[in-house]
């Protein structure tokens, strides 16, 4: 198949998928197309949508590509259909998510050590919203539960993957100023 055929197929797949499609998954469907040309066609599609000022665009989120409406058009979409939107996440929730996202997997005590307050309620709320999940238990006394962020978390914030998060500027500075042992900012990419 030539490139424009390939591009058409990819566009149709994205249209019906209803979830982010990874390049690997597209490759599995197309079999004889290589990853490079799939990537190229995705970029070309993205560019074409942008060039003709389409109301749609192709976003790269949660490890895949997905067709989405432009945020500027939200007001019109909300007129078409009642959008059932959950309330925004609270400040403590966002704070806790930020900590989990950078330090995952980690236990509640580590979160509370950074926040300086009890975080049980916030953690429960985030679990209920599927923003975080339990990934196991830490091999220390009491075997506390380890938490990590989910794919839904990436999708909710429009992140490609965990490394798409902003870098912790101040934190790195402080690590330099005070050569503390626990100042390593690990940005582990998580498997979903």
């Amino acid at each position: 198949m030539n490139n424009s055929e390939l591009k058409g197929i990819i566009e149709a797949l994205l249209f019906v998928a209803g979830e982010p499609l990874s390049i690997d998954r597209i490759k599995n469907i197309l079999e004889d197309a290589d990853k490079k040309s799939i990537q190229d066609m995705l970029w070309e599609l993205q560019h074409e949508y942008d060039m003709r000022l389409s109301g749609l665009r192709i976003v790269e989120v949660a490890g895949g590509f997905q067709i989405a409406s432009r945020p500027e058009l939200a007001q019109w979409i909300k007129r078409l259909r009642k959008v059932k939107q959950s309330s925004r996440l609270s400040k403590p929730s966002l704070e806790t998510l930020a900590i989990i996202a950078y330090k995952q997997p980690l236990v509640k005590a580590e979160i509370e050590d950074i926040r300086g307050v009890d975080s049980s309620g916030v953690i429960k709320g985030l679990l209920d919203k599927h923003m975080i999940k339990i990934v196991g238990r830490k091999d220390v006394a009491g075997r506390p539960i380890l938490y990590a962020t989910t794919r839904e978390f990436l999708q909710y914030f429009g992140l490609r993957d965990i490394s798409d998060l902003p870098t912790l500027k101040e934190f790195t500075e402080s690590a330099a100023s005070y050569d503390e042992a626990d100042s390593n900012v690990s940005m582990e990419t998580q498997e979903n």
């Binding site: 209803g18 979409i77 925004r88 009890d118 990934v135 402080s174």
Partner: protein, 252 residues
Amino acid sequence: MSYEVKLEVFEGPLDLLLHLIKKNEVNIYDIPISLVTQQYLEYIDIMQDLNLEIAGEFLLMAATLTHIKSKMLLPREEKAGEDEEAEDPRAELIRKLLEYKSFKEVAEELGQREDTWRDIFYNPPDKTIEDEEVFIEVGLFDLLEAFRDVIANTPDNRSLDIAPDELTVRGKMTAIIEMLDMAATEGVTLMSLLEDGSACTRRTIVVTFLALLELARIRLIKLMQAGGSETIRVYRNEDIRADSGEPKENLL
């Protein structure tokens, strides 16, 4: 000097401290501990006056601040012969404040992303298309959660359990494998196994669950979950079957 405190809601003592540092426009690396402690305590007083419940963490921080303040008042120990400076009593607090501040900034950025991405919509998948399922292997916790749900929905009919029955984990394992062989590549849903037949008691559910765990452990089955959907499906592990012909009898 009268000091006005605008009462804001602070997430915790660190949040309040950061607010005081910002308000006084002082350097976070060189916190005027006496001033900050005074204002911090005033804030606690106001909370008390308003009969607000003060979380223990706020009081603990008040104690920490006072402790640091007293240490700062003492003359620094001169350790002759040692090159190392005695550590600033504020160092640990500063480190914690900086760490907290950086996460607070990320949280703000996440909040902005949330605003944007809440206005982005996707089309739902066409309902006529059966999802070409991407499977993710089910973890123990997913399995436990499913198990808990089934148990929760099952009445606890203890009286029915008195009659001795033939239900054994081993027997159930064989039954599951037979069911899976009949289902071929389709697999069966976890729910259909757990709620199998009329005799759906807690006992059968527990036995089925143990059988599933054992089968998964010896890798005769795979437990998979389609991306996004909640349903857990159980499959024969084809790799094993292909490898060694008839492993079933040997392993069971």
